[in-house]
């Protein structure tokens, strides 16, 4: 498996690489939403706003628009600090409606299983009615992935149980902009995931060895390492390292 520890060859934690990769995808003036249990996108959105997309509109479950709070909850991405010091209130119900009518540019979502056809499973392992494992549920995925202009999926695990030949259950399908993992970024085109780029911490062989469906690409770009400026901002945004917690589970 891939390492999440710091070494001379792998100077950056995958969380930081993922956060920077995500932040660089975000464009100025975009309206961007993250949901629950989403500390990585939360940090990435704040990083993007500070560096790349100053006029981006950041939305979240508590409903604070562009909260400028410096406090970051250590346990929640739906806490009051995302409401405090915000510019306006735009609660979750309205965010969903916005996506439904085609006005949400970016939504961050996750899942537990993904297959090459772009199926996403956040519901169950095993059968739906008698599941082997009942997962937390897709939260907004089933309605946001089909409707957001760009649905960006992040997942902090990259192994053959996550990236599978066929998902056990289709919580939702298609319209995936990117899937960002500790090893790589997948894109989605012609109804199929493709390898878009890989982490500087890995090799294409390692990505293939940890992916349950066939990757056809032989050479892809390497994701740019976090810059000093990005890293210093990430540390200011998340001084307590909440972004690493998802990796320890």
């Amino acid at each position: 498996m891939y390492s999440t520890s710091y070494t001379a060859n792998k100077p950056h934690h995958p969380a930081d690489i993922m956060i920077c990769a995500i932040a660089r995808m975000l464009k100025n003036d975009e309206t961007i939403f993250h949901g629950v249990s989403s500390s990585l996108p939360m940090v990435a959105m704040k990083l993007a706003k500070a560096l790349y997309a100053p006029d981006a509109v950041l939305l979240n479950i508590p409903g604070g628009v562009n909260s400028s709070s410096f406090k970051t909850s250590e346990y929640s991405s739906a806490g009051e600090e995302l409401w405090d010091n915000s510019e306006a209130i735009f609660p979750l119900e309205k965010i969903f409606d916005l996506s439904m009518r085609g006005g949400l540019d970016v939504a961050f979502l996750s899942g537990v299983q993904f297959d090459a056809s772009g199926n996403v499973n956040a519901s169950v392992i095993g059968s739906y009615s008698k599941p082997k494992v009942r997962l937390p549920g897709g939260a907004g995925s089933a309605v946001l992935i089909p409707t957001a202009k760009k649905a960006i999926i992040w997942r902090t695990k990259h192994d053959k149980r996550t990236f599978v030949e066929n998902v056990d259950f289709v919580t939702t399908r298609g319209n995936i902009h990117k899937i960002v993992t500790p090893l790589c970024i997948f894109g989605y085109e012609n109804s199929r995931l493709y390898l878009d780029s890989i982490s500087p911490n890995t090799t294409i062989e390692e990505v293939k060895a940890n992916t349950g469906f066939t990757i056809f690409e032989e050479t892809v770009p390497t994701i740019m390492e976090p810059t000093r400026e990005e890293l210093s901002l990430i540390k200011r945004i998340d001084p307590k390292g909440v972004r690493y917690k998802e990796f320890s589970k």
């Binding site: 479950i61 929640s76 919580t171 998802e246």
Partner: protein, 278 residues
């Protein structure tokens, strides 16, 4: 005068009957009406149907205490820090509880239907999902204007909405500081609204600030004054989560462990709030 709405926790929980559909306020670890939820457990209510877009400790505790037969939700989990809701998971995996998985928004749409007296609500975004075929509360129908197919969700009509608020007056005019989550929506879709409140305040406090009232009193059936009524969940502006309790609760799935947890809160949940003379 209107009937006195102010009740003890026990009196208010007595309004809950087995098999009722209960909508719970707050979101994940924030502003869940935990004292009320614990009293439901102590009163051994059974076969409840629980409705919440995103639940955590509340739903987990009720599931671990055999109070629940159906959960309608988009997401049930502690956030990353405390891991999965294991009582809920186990109950679903063993078939004791039916998980009606929604997409958060489809819970909202089902409640919007109830709010507007409708049996169903169309949902734009739910297009490609096994959830549609697997669940009898989703259907595809034909839009009569365009001829296109659209998914609709069946209404969810809560018998009771339980909402924890920062303060209210004796008529139930209630103020929530910070995020309101879906509390307004559930208050408008439930047959009865029960408030648990940190504080009872004089009506005059809201004079000229009526636009801050999240729930108008005429929708409110009962009020329980219970300071720290959301603990160990957070109540924005007043207290954060009780991390120690939550870590301890999620560390062990035995019935005895739940008993211990309930015992810890026994005295706290029966503390009388600062009533003002009515």
């Amino acid at each position: 005068m209107t009937a006195n709405k102010i009740k003890t926790l026990k009196e208010a929980v007595n309004l809950i009957e087995d098999k009722m559909t209960i909508a719970i306020g707050g979101n994940v670890l924030h502003r869940a009406p935990m004292a009320f939820v614990r009293e439901i457990v102590r009163s051994k209510k059974r076969d409840l149907r629980i409705v919440k877009t995103a639940g955590a400790h509340d739903v987990d505790l009720l599931c671990g205490s055999d109070c629940v037969s159906i959960v309608d939700a988009g997401f049930i989990s502690y956030e990353t820090e405390f891991g999965l809701a294991n009582h809920y998971r186990k109950a679903v995996e063993t078939g004791k509880i039916k998980a009606n998985e929604h997409a958060c928004y489809t819970v909202m749409c089902a409640l919007r239907a109830a709010k507007a007296g409708l049996n169903f609500m169309p949902v734009k975004g739910l297009v490609h999902s096994d959830l549609i075929a697997e669940n009898d509360y989703f259907r595809k129908i034909t839009d009569p204007f365009s001829g296109e197919s659209v998914t609709v969700v069946k209404s969810i009509n809560p018998d009771v909405a339980v909402i924890h608020v920062h303060e209210c007056d004796k008529e139930g005019n209630a103020v929530i500081y910070g995020p309101k989550f879906d509390d307004e929506l559930i208050s408008l879709s439930a047959k009865r609204v029960i408030l648990t409140t940190e504080k009872l305040v004089n009506k005059s406090k809201f004079s000229k600030q009526m636009q801050n009232i999240a729930i108008p009193g005429f929708l409110v059936d009962s009020i329980v004054v219970i300071p720290k009524g959301a603990s160990p969940c957070s109540c924005p502006g007043l207290y954060d989560i009780d991390e120690k309790i939550l870590k301890d609760f999620t560390s062990n799935c035995s019935k005895e462990h739940i008993e211990k947890y309930l015992a810890y809160y026994e005295a706290k949940d029966s503390v009388k709030g600062a009533f003002y003379s009515v």
